[in-house]
Symmetry: C2
């Protein structure tokens, strides 16, 4: 039986898409329903989201932001106020036309994002520079009418947080935009062990209505990139449209400078595709719902279960630990624990008890470590830290291995075929070249990285003078 479970997962290098689908269902992260393109987030998946959310919410509060809640439904006329914004979102919103039996006088859309609601509210409550900054955040669900969907990566509905802030000056808004990008990068790298590249989006790829969009980009096991969080500087665009004005320190009316930034359940998909392997999920200890799974060996023998429960009891105040004392065979329990990506398995059997020790098994490497009874807790804490940083290092190495440089389109195409991953190449700044690269290779501009040296003097596509270094990749 134990064998069967493993056989149910497709080999990741054979068919990565199928491997992904296998993992999200077999590890019981999600289930499908009769609602097209939506997913049920099951207890194990939701516990992961709760842990990510707790870490991010703490950072959002520590940086001075307050949580609020805005309505789910947006009147069509309100959504239409900002022209670029509506143009970007109109094709993908769900429209409510009836309440009960009654046809509505005006259609309402389900929020695809809440800029316009925040803008309307800010106009009401901001009057003077004394009311600034306003640093609001919202945890909510949003709907975007996607044609093709995949669990976590692209769903009709997803969960996220969206921050929306107002500032006195351009400089302050820009600092906020970058500060929150740093918060996202920290959550990805420190908590989720996902290395990211920080940078700016091109005009073509920026958010509808924003002055500039910043992004963190990560690389999946299959060499495709994934946008993992974005932060936007709106300048005074929305403020001018919505009339969000304040009396400044000189007593003059002026529009506020705004930002918004979002981080979604999509990141769970990234975490799966960065760390997972052919046995299933591999979870970073910082967010694993269970960090240590205790598996008693020969549990019918006297003293084994007692010893296992004693360890469980002693660990559970400082760690997220569980015990599998079911009547399944140990091999089956091992497989389940591996499928669910639990960082450490703790085995204890009659011989271990005799020798006053237990065995710790690392999910990421399979390494087995004998640990004396009195050292269990410190050994586990050290090991969890080691696993956390080791996952990060491995992912970083993977990304570096799959990052190449191209100075012309032959190299570009060749690298994409041979190496995959990120291609660093220069760009003249002309959207026509960006479009052509996408058309010929399916790779898109992921970001213009902060503080990286150029790799040549000319645009990889047209050969004219280069303006920017760009990371390109096929992406989710």
């Amino acid at each position: 039986m134990a064998k069967q479970l493993v056989e149910q997962i497709t080999n990741m290098d054979k068919d990565f898409a199928q491997w992904y689908t296998d993992v999200v269902t077999k590890a019981e992260l999600i289930d499908y329903s009769s609602v097209r393109g939506s997913m049920i987030i099951r207890p194990y998946g939701y516990a992961i989201w709760e842990n990510i959310k707790a870490s991010l919410d703490q950072e959002i509060k520590d940086t001075g932001h307050e949580n609020v809640y805005m309505p789910l439904l947006i009147p069509e006329s309100l959504l239409q106020k900002e022209k670029d914004h509506i143009k970007g979102f109109a094709p993908e919103v769900a429209w409510v036309t009836h309440g009960g039996d009654e046809k509505l006088a005006e259609r309402l859309c389900i929020r695809p994002t809440s800029e316009v609601l925040f803008a309307e509210h800010y106009k009401n409550i901001i009057h003077s520079y004394r009311d600034l900054p306003k640093l609001y955040n919202q945890w909510s669900n949003v709907v975007r009418w996607e044609k093709t969907t995949r669990p976590f990566l692209r769903t009709l509905e997803f969960l996220w947080q969206e921050g929306h802030t107002c500032h006195e000056t351009e400089d302050e808004a820009q600092k906020e935009t970058l500060k929150m990008l740093d918060v996202y990068a920290d959550i990805c790298e420190r908590v989720l062990a996902i290395p990211v590249i920080k940078g700016r989006k091109t005009e073509k790829e920026k958010f509808a209505g924003a002055k500039s969009t910043y992004t963190i980009e990560s690389l999946m096991h299959d060499g495709k990139a994934l946008q993992s969080g974005t932060s936007h500087n709106f300048g005074t665009g929305f403020a001018e449209t919505f009339g969000i004005e304040f009396l400044n320190r000189e007593g003059k009316l002026q529009p506020v400078h705004q930002t918004s930034w979002g981080f979604t359940t999509r990141i769970i998909g990234a975490m799966i595709m960065v760390h997972g392997d052919d046995k299933g999920l591999v979870l970073p200890p910082a967010i694993a719902p269970t960090q240590v799974q205790i598996v008693p060996i020969a549990q019918h023998k006297e003293g084994v279960l007692d010893a296992a429960y004693e360890i469980h009891h002693s660990l559970q105040t400082s760690l997220r630990v569980s015990i599998d004392a079911s009547d399944k065979k140990p091999g089956w329990k091992f497989n389940e624990s591996e499928m669910k990506g639990i960082p450490i398995r703790l085995e204890i059997g009659p011989k271990d008890i005799e020798n006053g020790k237990v065995v710790l098994v690392r999910r990421d490497t399979g390494e087995k470590i004998d640990v004396k009874n009195h050292e269990i807790e410190t050994a586990i804490e050290r090991l969890l830290q080691e696993i956390q940083s080791s996952l990060y290092e491995k992912a970083l190495e993977h990304r570096l291995t799959k990052t190449s440089v191209a100075v012309n389109m032959d190299e570009f195409k060749d690298n994409l075929l041979q190496v995959g991953g990120f291609i660093k190449a220069m760009w003249c700044g002309d959207q026509a070249c960006e479009d052509q690269i996408k058309e010929q290779t399916q790779a898109t501009s992921r970001c213009i990285p902060f503080e990286e040296k150029g790799v040549s003097d000319t645009c990889v596509y047209c050969g004219r003078a280069a303006k920017e270094l760009v990371y390109w990749a096929k992406a989710y």
Copy 2:
């Protein structure tokens, strides 16, 4: 200026509805938007909800439940499967008919509650008695198309948790239903200081599709009742309709027994109307976002601000404390702190510093207490507990004062007019009498209480033999 703020609140005994509206807006709990019937929950209101949610979520987890997330949208055909359920909810759902520019083949409603989604999922994942019980909970937003709305009390969209569980036996489901009612009662009484009456709803008032509905009912300052949480036993109704069957211990297929239970942002409205007064909100310390507000007196004098910040620093590890060091006048600060219902105001001025003391002012009673510097923390902790239980006692006394007995309709009507509040009266069990009482008095049956003695032998309306004691009241 300080006076002005207080004058802006309507006297609660003059116009309670206007008082309520004044408080929710002036204490900055909510704001209105262009979305009819919806509200913006502002930072102070949302912080209250976060505290309530944290307490309830902990109890839900401690009783063995797991959080999940179901889709927002429900296909019409799925909602229609359970006939009583659709009949109850159809008039009040919002319908999505278009995705982007495309008309949908089937309408989707925004969840008014998620029974049918849970039922569909449970059918997929439950096969054997080994899969039971399934104890799931969801924190989410729901939409019900209400005609007339009021902040927190009745809004098109509200936030809540909905628990949905499946069990092997009738007995186990019934125990679960009552256990969660107890959890709600505990949150109301211990955390929110709102005394409740636990009981069963009549057939007329029960949830659409349920076998029986249990409720906790509380009484507002104006003598109207408010349903504060409900727990439903579905029996095997949904299970039979949706085919949620399992192989029982005898190897036979049988339907599961189900429950559901919900607790909403409505409770914030209850808390306002139970504890508030003519100065504004009065918050129970257990959920107050700020438990202690420090107000420096004559803060321009040397040492005052330093002393205030020192106290702030020493208290903030164990308490939710803030300091108002703005350049507003102390009287203005007092009023703001009172309007926001902060349980304790801590005043410190030059004379206090000289005498090595501070002054604590209770929000609920206005009592001023001198406390020596070395006793501040213990005095505050004791006082917060005292305020918490005192709010409960006061609310209980109010409810008892406003609870009367009626044995005939003359008494019933007279009591309703003279006393208001709850009327305890016997009922024959015939819905016609229940309907008539509502028509003649606007009072509805709130609940059939657990373990209370009857007050007479005959139905208060028809005079036939009485079956049940019922609490009646006009209600929100």
